[in-house]
């Protein structure tokens, strides 16, 4: 039924014209490799990893291991078993935050955080966590020196997004990592927007906990993600879920070793097969090439609209200081009107509103109306960006309604 509906509403013709600028929500399309790997797993392996000793189960285990290995390579992690698989970044952040912090602890975060960081922290605050939220600039920047005065005796951790999903601003993770390490604080990074988009090295950046999602720039399917836990920290982080792991089955207590401590229940093996292929695709293209191509798209967009009367741009003007995420508003139009017009008249898929980050919008002065967000991906082209610039130009000059092409 649903499939039929989808077929009816999105014809091949419309799909051809589609300009997908919502890669920060989830990347699309995926590399062919991702789809091939998922197909291959379901057609010729299919078994549950780590639960039985038969050939297919071992092969499924290898698929999962190869995904860990590829991610370890991408993030400079020496031991792939330090990576725990989750269903997304949100689950990873919940393990990191609620597994680590206790009533009476103090945690530091920024005002640019996504609700997947803010909400777990706010819930803990109700139970007695002390929280400091460091204000960022109107462009979404954090001054690392602002952290130090907030460090107290009971400060346990700093939790920081690597890049804002609203303004695209890249935050100074390595500098904050250094401060955290100097003060003996655990440093947790939300890499939902940056993993696969810009280089990450957990050792160089002194990251203790790295939460990532599989379905954005890592080119995996939805339902995949994970958490890197630095050696030893598994001793102080309680699992959010316990259950069957296929290991230590003679005991009714949860195993205490990685990654089993945090991986209860059958994994999303088909999803992880796709994620592994997505990450290997990134490794083969080279993260620098991906970053460079996304920077070209961002620069083209910023150049195209920055002098347009009626466009309000947020975040840095210089694409090197941001990921390929841009927020803007058009004077006298609400974000949802703009997004609807872009979709219906120009086949441009964007996201309007608050982007699950109310605090970030307060920081840049766009609360509660929000912004329009374009998020470019490796498979977008400069031509598509030019079409979008033209579409925005038409919307501003009131000509948008004549461009309806259906």
């Amino acid at each position: 039924m649903i499939y039929e509906t989808a077929q009816k509403t999105i014809s091949d013709d419309a799909l051809m014209k589609t300009i997908y600028f919502d890669n920060a929500a989830t990347s699309w399309p995926k590399p062919e490799d991702t789809l091939v790997a998922m197909n291959l797993y379901s057609q010729s392996i299919g078994a549950s990893p780590g639960r039985s000793g038969h050939r297919l189960s071992i092969e499924a285990g290898r698929v999962v291991f190869e995904t860990r290995d590829a991610l370890a390579q991408l993030f400079g992690i020496h031991d792939p078993l330090r990576i725990v698989f989750t269903k997304n970044a949100t689950e990873a952040l919940n393990i990191a935050i609620s597994g680590l912090l206790k009533p009476g602890d103090h945690a530091i975060t920024s005002s640019m955080e996504h609700n997947s960081v803010m909400r777990p922290l706010r819930s803990l605050e109700d139970k007695g966590l002390e929280l400091s939220i460091i204000p960022c600039s109107g462009q979404g920047d954090l001054n690392p020196d602002d952290i130090v005065p907030h460090i107290q005796k009971n400060t346990r951790a700093v939790i920081l997004t690597h890049a804002s999903n609203v303004t695209g601003t890249i935050l100074p993770v390595a500098d904050v990592g250094k401060i955290a390490r100097e003060h003996g604080l655990i440093f947790c990074v939300d890499a939902a927007q940056t993993a696969g988009a810009i280089p990450i090295d957990v050792d160089e950046m002194l990251i203790d906990l790295l939460a990532f999602t599989g379905h954005k720039s890592l080119f995996g399917p939805q339902g995949t993600g994970g958490l890197y836990i630095r050696n030893g920290l598994e001793k102080v982080i309680a699992p959010v879920m316990t259950g069957g792991t296929g290991s230590k089955s003679e005991f009714e207590e949860q195993p205490d070793f990685m990654p089993d401590k945090y991986e209860s229940g059958t994994l999303n093996t088909i999803g992880l097969a796709g994620l592994g292929a997505g990450v290997r695709y990134i490794l083969s293209q080279g993260i620098d090439a991906i970053r460079a191509s996304e920077e070209v798209l961002t620069t083209a967009f910023l150049r195209g609209v920055q002098s347009m009367d009626g466009v309000i741009l947020y975040g840095h003007r210089n694409a090197s200081r941001r990921i390929a995420v841009v927020s803007f508003n058009i004077r006298d139009m609400s974000p949802s009107e703009v997004a609807l017009a872009l979709d219906e008249r120009y086949h441009i898929m964007s996201r309007p509103g608050l982007h699950c980050a109310p605090s970030a919008h307060k920081t840049i002065g766009t609360f509660p109306a929000g912004t329009n967000r374009f998020s470019f991906g490796y498979f977008n082209t400069v031509d598509q960006v030019q079409s979008a610039i033209e579409a925005i130009h038409q919307l501003i000059s009131g000509k948008g309604s004549y461009a309806r092409n259906h």
Binding site: P49, I58, G61, F65, G246, E250, P259
Partner: protein, 75 residues
């Protein structure tokens, strides 16, 4: 004819650890085989790595600090 080979198995706590060890040995070109845990040895994880006894020291060294081996047992 050569002497019949003497084998050892390395036992691990989980399949993830077996597979990580397998990869390390593969990358180092050290011959080994992933086999079901022999019946007379009890191990929950189902599979283990088998290798000839002359490789024991080399394998111990290469896995040291990387993967926790429960034990190495002669077959």
């Amino acid at each position: 004819m050569t002497e019949p080979e003497e084998y050892y198995v390395a036992l691990f706590e989980s399949i993830s650890q077996v597979l990580r060890s397998e990869k390390i040995l593969k990358n180092a070109g050290i011959p080994h085989k992933l086999i079901p845990v022999p019946r007379h040895i009890s191990s929950d994880c189902g599979v283990c790595l088998r290798f000839t006894s002359n490789l024991k020291k080399q394998i111990e060294d290469i896995l040291a600090g990387k993967v926790d081996v429960i034990e190495m047992r002669q077959l």
